[in-house]
């Protein structure tokens, strides 16, 4: 059904906007910024900052209820005596809006000045500097000088509100975004204003600080430096950081994110707008999960266990690939002695190559991924803590249900049937493949980013790359294909796993020839029906929703493709 649109004029530009849209959003359509603080597209409109005041006129209606036409043969426009806030004004047919008239400019300069008179001049030590709306709008819409010579109002500074957030009340402009978010979105009515007038102060009741898994979102939506995240506070100046669009790997929701990095270190992760996935929010557990990237114990180089010394010897990649391929080559055609445990935390591309290597080249039958299940909340956090279960299913790595073949793998190792195990990114000791079982293996090859019991026992350990260090895709719980981008290089000579799998495929006589991630995707799109016609560019920053396999044309290569149906 076509949306009803209305035509209006904003700063002389004709705009067609959907009925019901407010003037801030409509102006955005025309590329015009209406500055605002309290308005947030995902929160209730309160209209308290008064920054979005605009001049709104409507056609004067004649007695025939048609717009009266003036001498310039245009409709006569009647402007109200007062300015109107854009956030609470809906578009209307024939409306004329001025966002830059002298009247609007004066009002805006006035509001800017008011916001600054009691604001501390602590920008040099404020962590919001560089992403502060007060700074930005001062430059764009302020007068550049203060006429205020009185004593400022003083309020509490450096108040911990819960373990995650620091509140500076002097910087707060009382826009109430955080209050509305905690009450209406996070579901914890814990923030409020005390006192009155210019002395109004944001606070929470003692002992009842924010304690949801979404608290840190208020540090994102705070337009000033009043609410800052303890995790990021004083770590970096934001203007030094590189922004990389990414996807949170902490659960199957796949919240869109930005990774903020500098010189190879990720300093924070923040949510990125995507209405089809996470609106503009993310959970705190997902947000703070990035820290493992910077773990000092990261595996940085391929190693082989030296049988003589019980120590690990570093290998170059070509040497590691050659040695492992040498060990695997004789096993081709003896698939029943090989098992492989992949990970649904890997990219679809990695899973695709993993599947190809294990099943098609080596002929392994016992291949699966480890399920990670937690508690779902009613908002963003999915019970499935794997970010790419649907990718693991689509590529055929995962059992149905995921993990169902793990007991069989353990059993087959125990019985001596399986002599070779390849593990990617999972501490399988925790999931039934015990240390005793691993010790029985003739060959244990592990690809991982951090050391654990499995890497300790492995004959070969190959360093992997975290989600922040590689390109590739995840398919989320709603069957949405989303793209990762490399924000930082991997430590040492660690590299994205798809390169490792492609190298092994080459050595083992697969016809791979995968030189780039695009090559891998192209092959995958050729073979897996739901991906038909796609490539990494087409996915875009917001991802694409995959059609269930039954609705797609072309042949489904693996039987588990059909299982990749949308999870609701």
């Amino acid at each position: 059904m076509a949306e009803q649109t209305v035509k209006l004029t904003i700063d002389g530009k004709e705009v067609a906007a959907p009925k019901g849209m407010n003037l801030i959003e409509a102006a955005k359509l025309a590329g015009i910024e209406v500055p605002h603080y309290c308005y947030h597209p995902k929160l209730a409109v309160v209209g308290n900052c008064r920054m979005c005041l605009v001049d709104v006129g409507m056609p004067k209606m004649g007695l025939d209820k048609k717009p009266e036409i003036g001498p310039d043969s245009k409709p006569v426009i009647m402007f109200g005596p007062k300015l109107t806030i854009g956030c609470n004004t809906s578009v209307a047919e024939g409306m004329v809006v001025h966002t830059r008239s002298p009247k609007v400019i004066k009002a805006r300069e006035g509001v800017m000045e008011f916001l600054l008179i009691n604001h501390p001049l602590d920008c040099p030590i404020c962590d919001q500097a560089g992403e502060c709306r007060l700074q930005e709008f001062s430059v764009d819409y302020g007068k550049g000088q203060s006429r205020f010579v009185e004593e400022k109002v003083h309020k509490p500074k450096k108040t911990e509100i819960g373990p995650k957030i620091m509140l500076d009340d002097e910087r707060c402009i009382l826009c109430s975004r955080c209050v509305r978010f905690m009450r209406d979105v996070a579901g914890q009515d814990c923030l409020g204003f005390v006192n009155r007038g210019s002395y109004s102060t944001l606070t929470c009741y003692p002992g009842m600080e924010p304690n949801t898994n979404y608290d840190l979102n208020i540090t994102d939506i705070c337009p000033v430096g009043a609410l800052t995240a303890n995790d990021f506070r004083f770590k970096q100046r934001v203007w030094f950081l590189k922004e990389t669009k990414s996807v949170c790997p902490n659960c199957a929701t796949g919240c869109n994110t930005v990774l903020w990095s500098r010189e190879g270190v990720v300093h924070r992760q923040t949510p990125r707008d995507n209405d089809a996935v996470n609106q503009c929010w993310m959970c705190d557990s997902g947000r703070l999960h990035y820290k493992f990237i910077n773990d000092p114990h990261r595996i940085t180089t391929p190693t082989v266990k030296s049988s003589a010394m019980g120590e690990r010897l570093a290998l170059t990649w070509p040497e590691a690939t050659r040695q492992i391929a040498e060990k695997l080559m004789p096993l081709k055609g003896k698939g029943s002695t090989i098992a492989a445990i992949g990970t649904a935390r890997a990219t679809t591309e990695e899973l695709f190559l993993f599947n190809k290597l294990m099943r098609e080249i080596l002929g392994a039958e016992l291949v699966d991924c480890v399920p990670h299940v937690g508690e779902a909340d009613k908002f963003l956090l999915d019970a499935d803590r794997n970010p790419n279960t649907n990718g693991a299913k689509l590529t055929g790595v995962a059992g149905e249900p995921i993990g169902s073949r793990i007991p069989a793998i353990a059993e087959a190792i125990k019985s001596g049937k399986i002599k070779t195990l390849i593990v990617h990114g999972e501490n399988v000791v925790k999931y039934g493949v015990t240390e005793e079982l691993l010790a029985k293996l003739d060959l244990l090859v592990v690809i991982d980013t951090l050391p654990n019991k499995v890497t300790e026992l492995a004959h070969y350990v190959l360093p992997g790359a975290t989600f922040a260090e590689k390109r590739g895709t995840f398919i989320n719980a709603r069957n949405r294909l989303q793209r990762l981008n490399a924000a930082i290089p991997s430590p040492g000579i660690a590299r994205p796993e798809w390169q490792t799998f492609a190298a092994l495929l080459n050595e083992l006589g697969g016809d791979g020839g995968y030189l780039t991630i695009e090559d891998v995707f192209a092959d995958m799109a050729r073979l897996l029906a739901p991906l038909a016609g796609l490539n990494l560019s087409k996915i875009g920053d917001l991802g694409v929703e995959l059609k269930p396999a039954t609705e797609t044309k072309g042949e489904a290569k693996t039987e588990s493709t059909a299982a990749a149906g949308a999870k609701t």
Partner: protein, 603 residues
């Protein structure tokens, strides 16, 4: 639960909660806090948490209110809380001397408790008794026409007797021949006490049965035809307001009586509430029937505790005679009226601030649209009318729209209650036909002119938020249109007279201080601009003005004017701009006084 709330008190609280819809029991929070504070003396952690649990709220929701409404206190106060009004009319009449004397006498600063725990002195904003200023309240008792000596004597008496004696209501002022008393008619009669018998004896409760025999839309039409305009301040036609109600949405409709009289200079509703409550109650009942409401709330300002008691008693008297309750006068109409007490916030006079406050929140005025007629109290269509407006309704029903229109002038029909305060010989309240008298007649005839030896300097015609008229502008007729043409407004009918001894800069400071204190703090221009103006004027007043401050003051006011969520922005901007424009010389002189830069002391 840690807090020991006596059974009787809890029963009372539980009863109060039933005055509000079950899913909106939060609305009872101000009542609860009043009751708990009366019992415990203050509202600390235990009281906050007890209240939150009782009403299904978070403690922060309650804490937000205690710090918003000045009548509540988190810390124990003295047994006798002395509240000295510091607002304009009382200042003009010398309240400063009273505060000074009491502080000296008791040896405490404002908001400090005396060491014996007996007294706390606070300054408060307008107590709506401006005609008898200076005034102060001690706990629930109002003391009027004070002098420092009188104030000291009151304290001495409390100290000696250890108790506070109830103060009688002062006698009703006699009518001046130029007045036409309609709303004040009953109370002006000898022996009239405002009880239901008195009201009925004088012909009361005749409009109600008559109205119940009419169709609601006929009543709305009659009120529309009468031309009665809202008496609260904005002067919006009452009948038109009623006709905007969004009916038929399956939601209940509410009528709210705005009895939060708090515009400085205004004390008319005080008379109507205290002396003739049934006139108001009958007006509310008729209006409820007309608009289809079955429940009405009277939001009475917290500083009128007796008014609340009088109304509650009157409601019970009316119920006993089946004027109120179920199946009123066996005409099948049900209607309840509940009294809701405010707690000291001027902003509750703004209708959407009032609604938020009534819902148990900080009185943050709402952005419009939607208007209360569509989304009002508890999200339902709501009409909010002033006490004086509603008190007119029985008369319109009894006598007809034509009779009402016959009084006053076109556009300003009926009578108006006008309150006069400041240095005139006979300050007080007067009722006369709108447009039939000029400001000059009001000041010089009705009020008997200025006090001996004083000359008129200016007059604020409609509460302190309205632009001042200079002494040569007073030949203006007192009706909505004439005052508008004179560049001001009829407002709330509070006339504040300024004489030649008045320091305009000081008066402007007083006004700015009032609005800075009363700004709810929700929207930027008012929150920041009001206090800025107060600070600037304070500095100028203390001799540290700079020549540029005159224009700066005007411009700050201009940056507030029309930019805010509610009319409080205009309420502060208009008087400041008018004072600066009309008495510019005084400001220039004050700013030049010693020409030196502001020092740290007075910044």
């Amino acid at each position: 639960m840690a807090l020991n709330v006596p059974t009787e008190l809890e029963q009372h609280i539980d009863e109060v909660i039933t005055h509000y819809p079950q899913q909106h029991k939060r609305a009872a929070v101000l009542w609860l806090l009043h009751l708990l504070q009366e019992h415990f003396g203050h509202l600390g952690k235990e009281q906050v948490e007890w209240t939150a649990t009782k009403l299904g709220l978070q403690p922060i929701n309650v804490w937000e209110l205690i710090t918003f409404y000045p009548m509540f206190t988190a810390k124990p106060r003295g047994k006798f809380h002395i509240k000295v009004c510091r607002t304009l009319s009382c200042e003009l009449c010398g309240c400063g001397g009273i505060l000074e004397r009491l502080q000296r006498k008791l040896g405490v600063k404002p908001d400090e408790n005396t060491s014996d725990g007996l007294f706390t002195i606070s300054t408060v904003e307008c107590l709506a008794a401006c005609g008898t200023g200076p005034v102060m309240m001690v706990n629930d008792e109002l003391f009027e026409n004070l002098t420092p000596d009188k104030a000291e004597a009151i304290i001495n008496r409390i100290k000696t007797t250890g108790k506070l004696e109830p103060q009688p209501l002062p006698p009703v002022l006699p009518a001046h021949p130029l007045e036409k008393r309609v709303l004040l008619a009953n109370m002006s009669k000898p022996g009239y006490k405002g009880a239901i018998e008195d009201y009925i004896r004088e012909g009361g409760y005749k409009a109600l049965p008559k109205a119940l025999g009419m169709k609601p839309e006929e009543i709305v039409a009659e009120v529309k035809n009468s031309g009665v305009r809202g008496r609260g301040g904005a002067g919006f036609p009452c009948g038109m307001k009623w006709s905007f109600l969004a009916k038929g949405a399956g939601q209940p409709i509410y009528l709210v009586c705005n009895a939060d009289e708090s515009e400085p200079g205004t004390f008319k509703d005080r008379q109507l509430l205290h002396y003739d409550p049934h006139q108001l109650i009958e007006g509310i009942l008729v209006s409820c029937y007309a608009v289809g409401a079955h429940a009405a709330y009277i939001y009475i300002r917290g500083e009128m505790p007796y008014g609340a008691k009088i109304l509650i008693r009157a409601i019970e008297e009316a119920r006993a005679r089946n004027f109120l309750g179920k199946n009123i006068l066996r005409k099948g109409f049900d209607c309840e009226i509940f009294v809701h007490r405010g707690a000291g916030a001027y902003i509750c006079g703004e209708e959407t601030g009032l609604i938020e406050s009534l819902e148990g929140k900080r009185a943050y005025p709402r952005i419009k649209p939607p208007f209360p007629a569509v989304v009002g109290l508890f999200g339902c269509p709501t009409v909010v009318n002033n006490v004086e407006t509603l008190s007119n309704i029985p008369h319109i029903i009894n006598n007809g729209a034509a009779w009402f229109r016959g009084m006053g002038v076109p556009g300003s029909t009926g009578t108006r209650l006008v309150c006069v305060s400041g240095p005139v010989k006979r300050p007080g309240y007067y009722e006369f036909e709108m447009g039939k008298l000029t400001m000059r007649q009001l000041i010089y005839d009705l009020c008997g002119g200025l006090q001996e030896g004083r000359q008129l300097k200016g007059v604020v015609p409609g509460g302190s938020s309205m632009p001042v008229l200079k002494a040569d502008q007073i030949d203006v007729a007192l009706d909505f249109e004439s005052l508008r043409k004179a560049g001001t407004m009829a407002g709330s009918g509070g006339v504040i007279v300024l004489d030649d001894t008045v320091d305009i800069v000081q008066s402007t400071l007083n006004v700015a201080q009032f609005y800075a204190h009363e700004s709810c703090g929700q929207c930027t221009p008012c929150r920041e601009g009001t206090l800025w103006m107060e600070k600037m004027l304070h500095r100028v007043k203390h001799g540290h003005g700079r020549p540029e401050d005159v224009d700066l003051l005007w411009d700050v006011a201009d940056n507030v004017d029309g930019k805010t969520i509610c009319p409080l922005g205009e309420a502060v901007a208009w008087p400041v701009k008018a004072f600066v424009t009309k008495y510019r010389g005084e400001f220039e002189k004050a700013c030049k006084k010693n020409g030196k830069e502001a020092t740290d002391e007075h910044r």
